[in-house]
């Protein structure tokens, strides 16, 4: 999950002038990137989604949409592929350029295979273990200090999607600019250091947000009631860390919640 997969070595090759990348094609690809996982499955993962996203660029190949070059390229791009959905934009940009440059099919296929690992592991660390929990804890912090529902929701969505949309757009641009040399972009400070700083921000916000959230949820009863609730939470958190990998807290909470509900209702009966 958080292991580091080395970035693929940029493939050497003759320098090729960048083909045209019209705004209309770029806009079509960007809109499709948001649906890259629509047909996610256990056979080809997001392979079909990559083909779907690259397809507007392939219409620029000699012979146009439906031509031999177009069909061969689309078949290549719709095979198995795995990557973090947001970082797949790097692959889409790079693969679109490689196809329009007329790179050999075998070279494109090797490049495609080499990209899968790094785009998955970097994305997981940057987004799922970085951006998402950090934004979530920021929203919980705001809730804890008394923000309204609208503020909590808007701040979360704006913070998260500023990063999310920027990452997709930047990835497409970098992929297109670098082509088969996109591996160099995976060493960019944002991708290398971003997860570290997001983890630090997330940890700070988690430390601040959890007590404040519990306080506001308990809402009343003063410090002793809040203190007891927090102490129970701390003991529970320690137990979950201790039994890490063997117990899932949310499943326990599901059982405990329904058990308490039944108990409270039976107690009255």
């Amino acid at each position: 999950m958080t292991g580091t997969t080395p970035a693929p070595t940029p493939l050497p090759g003759p320098a090729v002038a960048a083909p045209d990348f019209p705004l209309r094609t770029r806009a079509a690809i960007v809109s499709r990137l948001f649906a890259v996982q629509a047909s996610w499955n256990y056979e080809i993962l997001i392979g079909n989604g990559i083909g779907f996203c690259v397809e507007p660029a392939l219409r620029l190949l000699p012979g146009g949409a439906g031509g031999d070059a177009y069909r061969a390229a689309l078949a290549r791009q719709s095979q198995y592929f795995n990557a973090h959905p947001y970082l797949s934009s790097f692959a889409v940009g790079a693969l679109a350029r490689a196809e329009l440059e007329g790179q050999p099919a075998a070279r494109i296929e090797r490049f495609r295979t080499a990209l899968c690992g790094p785009l998955g592991s970097v994305g997981d660390r940057l987004v799922w273990v970085g951006l998402l929990p950090t934004c979530s804890f920021a929203a919980l912090f705001l809730f804890g200090v008394g923000a309204t529902p609208l503020v909590c929701v808007l701040v979360f969505l704006l913070m998260y999607n500023a990063g999310h949309v920027a990452l997709r757009l930047w990835g497409l641009q970098m992929g297109w600019e670098k082509g088969l040399g996109v591996a160099a972009a995976l060493g960019h400070p944002i991708l290398r250091e971003g997860p570290v700083w997001l983890a630090r921000a997330g940890t700070f916000l988690a430390g601040a947000a959890v007590p404040l959230t519990v306080m506001r949820l308990v809402d009343g009863g003063g410090l002793p009631r809040v203190g007891i609730t927090l102490a129970v939470a701390a003991v529970g958190a320690s137990a979950l860390v201790l039994f890490h990998g063997r117990v899932e807290g949310w499943r326990l909470a599901l059982l405990a919640g329904f058990a308490a509900l039944v108990l409270f209702l039976l107690r009255h009966a």
């Binding site: 649906a35 256990y42 529902p149 909590c152 969505l157 959890v210 007590p211 404040l212 909470a253 009255h268």
Partner: protein
């Protein structure tokens, strides 16, 4: 009731689609989706309370590729709506004590249904491998549309079934006398706090220096709690 179920089903379908298929903007996160569900039932504040509790649990379940995880998009609006519907006729604590575990249960069912959807998508793709190998644009687009449509139907169905059960149940539970209801929210808060804190440690502890940032945050949070609880 029928209108509520239909609207919540539509909301759940849209938010469920966001989890994986389109656009992954995290409008499906509990803090957003449950608040929307609560707002639809007329009480965004109670929806937010439910969403915050579910959000604490959601930190433990990150959406890594092929892993199986709870699907919050269709579950959260139903939980938020149930909490608000219960609070409208009775007490908030018992409404939340039903809505939060119910949300976790629906999210778990949603996670199972996503596995079924992925298997369905795989069957559809397998049948069209020849067309994909020929570079058929219609097949590529068709698989994307079919996957998204099935996901929309899946999450909408789960949300509707959830709403049909949750709304009358919570309205009954919320008006039952429950002398112990004062313990309901502290219990849910301590469970949620434990899961979120444990999850934060699991997510961040391997990054160098995070322990100091965590301690600093804890210091700030504890100080604010002491000041604000007076």
């Amino acid at each position: 009731m029928i209108v509520d179920v239909l609207v919540l089903g539509t909301l759940g379908a849209i938010l469920g689609l966001d989890v994986v298929s389109f656009p992954q903007a995290q409008i499906s996160r509990p803090i957003v989706a449950a608040t929307l569900g609560g707002a639809f039932m007329g009480d965004a504040g109670v929806g937010l309370l439910c969403g915050v509790l579910l959000e604490l649990f959601a930190h433990e379940t990150l959406p890594f590729g092929a892993s199986r995880y709870p699907e919050w998009g269709s579950a959260s609006p139903i939980a938020g709506a149930a909490a608000a519907a219960g609070a409208a006729v009775g007490g908030v604590p018992m409404s939340l004590l039903f809505a939060v575990p119910f949300g976790l249960l629906v999210a778990s069912v949603g996670g199972w249904s996503m596995v079924q959807l992925r298997q369905l998508n795989a069957r559809l793709a397998r049948r069209r491998l020849d067309a994909l190998a020929r570079g058929s644009a219609a097949t590529v687009a068709g698989l994307q549309v079919a996957g998204a449509t099935a996901d929309l139907a899946r999450s909408g169905l789960i949300a509707m079934i959830g709403a049909v059960f949750a709304l009358p149940t919570v309205r009954w539970i919320a008006v039952q006398p429950a002398p112990l209801d004062g313990y309901a929210i502290p219990m849910l808060a301590s469970l949620g706090g434990a899961v979120a804190a444990g999850a934060a440690w699991k997510m961040f502890h391997s990054t160098s220096g995070t322990q100091w940032f965590g301690l600093a945050g804890l210091g700030v949070g504890t100080l604010l709690v002491a000041l604000m609880s007076r």
